[in-house]
Symmetry: none
Subunit: 225 residues, 2 copies
DNA sequence: CCTCGACGATCAGGATACGCATTCGCGGCT
DNA sequence: AGCCGCGAATGCGTATCCTGATCGTCGAGG
């Protein structure tokens, strides 16, 4: 899952980035409205954390522009504390959730998780496909109830596929969502990790669609839609 | 476990802080309502001790603001004398327990412990995982019934993990809950203490989740959810 | 049915980051 | 003064990651 943080205060921004990365997200950080808007428009994020109190362009404006451009990623808005009007305005402008500064990092993580979950249409914190279960809260994966040890990258890849169950996901899309901005696109890491996941969870979990990418289907309600 | 004390009277505040620290808590002290409210909103506490008789902003107001903001930590309210009305008002405003001044520090400790225990969903004062037992009342730890001597920090770390059994706890989270406000986040103390605990309790008590943190699982009811 | 090209899977190597153990100096407590 | 726990620094071992090369497979066209 790839996140964009638009936050002008460098200290807070860095800290957030670090925290999120420790929680398994790929994070890009932008320090002003213009750059933030550009990045949100050009890259594909799974969620955006947006500070409203930005210099130059206001956060609300940026949010409005994104929505006008048709960007659909969920946006979590940060506002200075107690500014009730900002909250209303933010939600009006298309924010999906709202958090007042100061906030607790754990709460931010929780809300972010909820946001991404909602965006992918899941209601539980457990993602399930066939015999495979992934709990986003505890970061655990089980196969037929047996715990399976996945490495960080394997987990990210599997998690992304599960969030887009049934959809064909291209290699490029995977790279863009698992790694942050600067990463060599001509690399076969994705294939390598797919192989590894298949070794651990069985060969049928991930289906290859030749020339297009990969797909993860739920045999519970499979062919014949 | 990290505690916030909001108490305007400096002598009592300091004394409480010292006492609690001697009992193994990481303690932040705030001397007025505004600052106290800010700290409770921005940091992650496991419990808060709140004096109602504050200058500037009233304790009840602070409590109300926290609850409105969605802060969930348990709050132990201190009131002057036996003012019944204050008690009622406090509980109404979202306090979890109540203690009239003057009080015995021992009683305060006991109630605090109960509060934290309840908040983490445990009903007993004993935390158990596998062969390890930790009694929060006596501060004793046993391995297969044999008493084990842990140092203060080792105890805090183990206790926090036990309170969050089954969840993956990041290094950051551990630092935030074991130490008080100002502490170097880039430090390897957590790893050091994990090592030391493993030496005393066996290598399998604490599981490492590479890249994410640590986790403590209960082998008593593991496989087959 | 066979061949060939393109794409994907797999393997092995080296680089790296991460966690672990150990050491050491500081400071508080006895 | 001596002991002990704490936390910083250091070096080591290894899981994990990425790269590049090779092998396998699918599918189209002859």
């Amino acid at each position: 899952m790839r996140i964009l943080i638009v936050e002008d205060e460098p200290t807070l921004g860095r800290q957030l980035k670090t925290t999120l990365e420790q929680n398994g997200y790929a994070v890009d950080l932008s320090v002003d409205g213009e750059d933030g808007h550009f990045m949100g428009s050009s890259e594909d994020y799974d969620a955006v954390i947006l500070d409203l109190g930005l210099p130059e362009i206001d956060g609300l404006t940026v949010l409005g522009m994104w929505r006008k451009e048709g960007r659909k990623f969920p946006v979590l808005v940060l506002t200075a504390r107690d500014s009730w009007s900002d909250k209303v305005a933010g939600l009006d402008a298309g924010a999906d959730d709202y958090l007042a500064k100061p906030f607790q990092t754990e709460e931010l993580i929780a809300r972010l998780r909820a946001l991404i979950r909602r965006a992918s249409g899941n209601s539980s914190s457990e993602l399930i496909a066939g015999d495979v279960r992934l709990d986003t809260r505890s970061g655990r994966v089980t196969l037929n109830g047996e715990p399976v040890k996945l490495t960080a990258q394997e987990y990210k890849l599997l998690s992304y596929l599960l969030h887009h169950k049934g959809k064909v996901v291209s290699r490029t899309e995977l790279i863009e969502h698992i790694y942050d901005q600067d990463f060599d696109r001509d690399s076969n890491t994705i294939e390598v990790f797919v192989t590894r996941i298949r070794k651990k969870l069985g060969p049928d979990v991930i289906t290859t669609i030749r020339g297009l990418g990969y797909s993860l289907d739920d045999p519970a309600q499979p062919k014949r839609g």
